[in-house]
């Protein structure tokens, strides 16, 4: 018997890729702005020094001192780079310019749950419904009425999510007034586990979630359909039919089970762009997640906040990819990730 699951070698390799992703992204963030425009942090600090008092609630002296120390602004570039990496991996992002003396971590900590919850739910719904639509589109057993309706669900596939968001916002919020135009809950309700709060959260979340689902569902539907069609021609499908199995069993155990594997792979590959879409949707719906925070950072020229959020987003994505990679062998027995040693 061969062990099913993860070999140390595989886990190490995935962890290596994980680390590489983070390092690459961090370096990009550090290097390219400095190649193009000098040192943005120094520029920002310099700007605050000039407008001392106005930008940072009168505490700019303390802020400047804290930053000079933290970024080693007087040290050579390589030291600054190493310091940047060290601060990044220890999540030591320092203070926010917008809300000094609040730290960047505090700001992100308040925003992240909203983002993660919205993204997780919307992506899950879109992945499941989209895959189901794709599977039904390809399956010969689908009732013809359903089959003729299904393609309409793909109408919005070709548009980026924020465009769909604009449309939904205009129709359902501004014109019909069914849903609120901004925020994650009514400011009047008290946050907590009570019905007014929860219903308010759901009420506010519907449109952003619908936007993400509507715009990405078609992607999953099409790739699922493609996989299903490919599987239709496999030899094991013919044998399955010859075995006289019920169509439902052929559908689940043969078609869906095999088609789901590449779907999970592409989920891992597209997480990055899912995050990108999320940022815009939050901006559009003024949803208090990190996307919105990011936009605030841009408006306030709070470079450190922007950089920190982006770094965290990258870590989150890489982490999610890592998790998907590690559970993949449990879904696909062919990938035991142990070297194929002849017994």
């Amino acid at each position: 018997m061969r062990l099913r699951g993860l070999s140390l070698r595989y886990v190490l390799r995935r962890l290596g890729t994980f680390a590489l992703t983070i390092w690459l992204a961090a370096s990009l963030i550090f290097v390219i702005p400095r190649l193009m425009a000098g040192n943005p942090v120094a520029a920002m600090v310099g700007k605050i020094s000039l407008q001392s008092g106005s930008a940072a609630n009168g505490n700019s002296a303390g802020l400047i001192a804290a930053w000079n120390a933290r970024f080693g602004l007087n040290d050579p570039a390589i030291v600054q780079y190493l310091l940047f990496l060290k601060n990044s991996v220890t999540f030591n992002f320092g203070f926010s310019i917008t809300d000094f003396p609040a730290t960047v971590n505090q700001l992100i900590g308040a925003a992240l749950p909203w983002t993660l919850a919205l993204m997780f739910l919307a992506t899950l719904i879109s992945f499941v419904i989209g895959s189901a639509i794709g599977a039904l589109m390809a399956w010969r057993g689908t009732p013809s009425v359903l089959r003729s309706i299904l393609p309409f669900s793909l109408t919005f596939t070709a548009i980026p999510s924020f465009m769909l968001g604009l449309l939904l916002l205009y129709v359902f919020s501004y014109t019909l007034g069914w849903f609120p135009t901004s925020n994650a809950y009514d400011l009047g309700v008290t946050a907590g586990l009570n019905w007014p709060f929860l219903s308010s959260v759901i009420h506010h979340g519907v449109l952003p979630a619908l936007t993400i689902v509507g715009a990405s569902m078609g992607f999953w539907a099409l790739s699922m359909r493609g996989m299903m069609v490919t599987i239709e021609g496999e030899d094991y499908m013919v044998l399955g039919e010859a075995k006289g199995l019920r169509p439902s069993r052929l559908f689940w155990r043969y078609r869906i089970r095999n088609a789901a594997l590449p779907q999970v792979t592409s989920l891992a590959l597209t997480l990055g762009s899912i995050i990108s879409g999320q940022i815009l949707v939050e901006y559009l719906f003024a949803y208090p997640g990190v996307g919105q925070l990011l936009y605030q950072g841009i408006l306030n020229e709070d470079y450190v906040l922007v950089e920190s959020i982006v770094f965290l987003l990258i870590v989150t994505t890489a982490l999610a990819v890592l998790v998907l990679d590690l559970i993949y062998p449990l879904l696909d027995p062919r990938i035991s990730y142990l070297r194929e040693a002849p017994r």
Binding site: M1, R2, E234, D235, Y236, V238, L239, G240, E241, A242, K243, G244, L245, R246, R249, R253, Y254, R257, N258, L261, L331, D332, P333, R334
Partner: protein
């Protein structure tokens, strides 16, 4: 004579393409008797695999059964409802597929793949009864019980093919359709699998259609043999007389082209075999036939019985005897 398990009558299978209809099987008729092994031999594209799929009513689109009947134990499979067809499949006729490599569901363990077919036709069994039965089936084909818990990719080609055989006999069907079951295997494994097939069919009294391109292997394994060319059966008969006195020029060519391992000979310096692109009028083989004459171009030869149970469709044998009963019935 034993009763016929399967009677195929004037079977037509067509492939509809955008511009034309391709005839893959053109009026094939034959019978398989209880407990016997019938070989169906021919070269690539002759329609033998399509015939096999038609017997299970499993011709894949855009192909379709365009005519004829397939009677299995008296009921015509071409007219059955999907529901009834599902019940007949595997219970009465099981398939041993051509590409055992890819014919097992890659994400399901061997025992679950065997169990699902038992469950689909006999309902639920207790866990232990099921695993006993699977172990017994595996041992019938010479596999150890631990194979049950493996995934297909963990098996070698020969093992996979034997799993397919174990699965095929799980319900003791009346007929096995083995579609080139050994063509991807090495000679020694081919022999083992071939002998396993004969062993289980004789032990369970199952009839089998063995489809293949290797006429020497057919000589080793089958009771009767049918030679197919361009969608038609040209000759059918007991395997001994087919080899002793092949009647059809194509059968003669096939037998003559087997390279011998015991007798070294210079190749007959004949002209290169002609390769024919299109179905000619009259006899399908006439353009490659060394004996072709005028009548071959004009008339499709009728199958005639040259000796008991040995039927050939060739104008050379037109005066040999009476046409075999029922058109090209063989």
């Amino acid at each position: 004579m034993k009763p016929a398990v399967l009677e195929v009558e004037a079977l037509q299978v067509h492939y509809q393409t955008a511009t034309e209809v391709a005839v893959a099987v053109n009026g094939v008729s034959f019978q398989v008797f209880a407990g016997e092994t019938l070989g169906l031999v021919g070269e690539s594209g002759c329609g033998k695999s399509t015939t096999a799929m038609a017997i299970l009513n499993l011709v894949q689109a855009p192909g379709r059964i365009a005519g004829g009947s397939i009677r299995l134990n008296g009921q015509d499979l071409t007219t059955l409802s999907q529901r009834r067809l599902r019940q007949v499949r595997w219970r009465e006729v099981a398939l041993i597929p051509q590409g055992a490599m890819d014919s097992l569901n890659p994400v399901v363990r061997v025992d679950d793949q065997v169990a699902e077919v038992i469950q689909a036709h006999e309902g639920r069994l207790s866990r232990s009864a099921m695993s006993d039965r699977i172990a017994e089936l595996l041992s019938l084909v010479g596999l150890p019980g631990r194979v049950a818990r493996l995934y297909p990719h963990e098996l070698s080609g020969g093992m996979k093919q034997r799993v397919c055989i174990a699965m095929a006999i799980a319900l003791q069907p009346a007929l096995l359709v083995a579609d080139e079951p050994t063509s991807a295997l090495d000679v020694v494994v081919q022999r083992v699998v071939g002998q396993t097939l004969l062993d289980v069919t004789s032990r369970l009294g199952v009839a089998m259609i063995l489809i293949g391109h290797d006429i020497a292997l057919q000589a080793q394994l089958v009771d009767r043999m049918a030679v197919m060319y361009a969608g038609s059966i040209l000759e059918i008969g007991p395997v001994e007389t087919m080899f002793d006195q092949p009647q059809h020029p194509y059968t003669q060519l096939l037998i003559a082209s087997i390279p011998s391992i015991t007798e070294r000979r210079r190749r007959p310096a004949e002209t290169p075999v002609r390769e024919v692109q299109h179905r000619p009028s009259g006899c399908v083989f006439r353009l490659r036939c060394p004996h072709a004459f005028d009548r071959c171009r004009e008339e499709v030869p009728v199958a005639r019985e040259t000796s008991p149970g040995h039927v050939v469709a060739c104008h050379l044998h037109d005066d040999a005897s009476q046409p075999a009963g029922g058109g090209s019935r063989a």
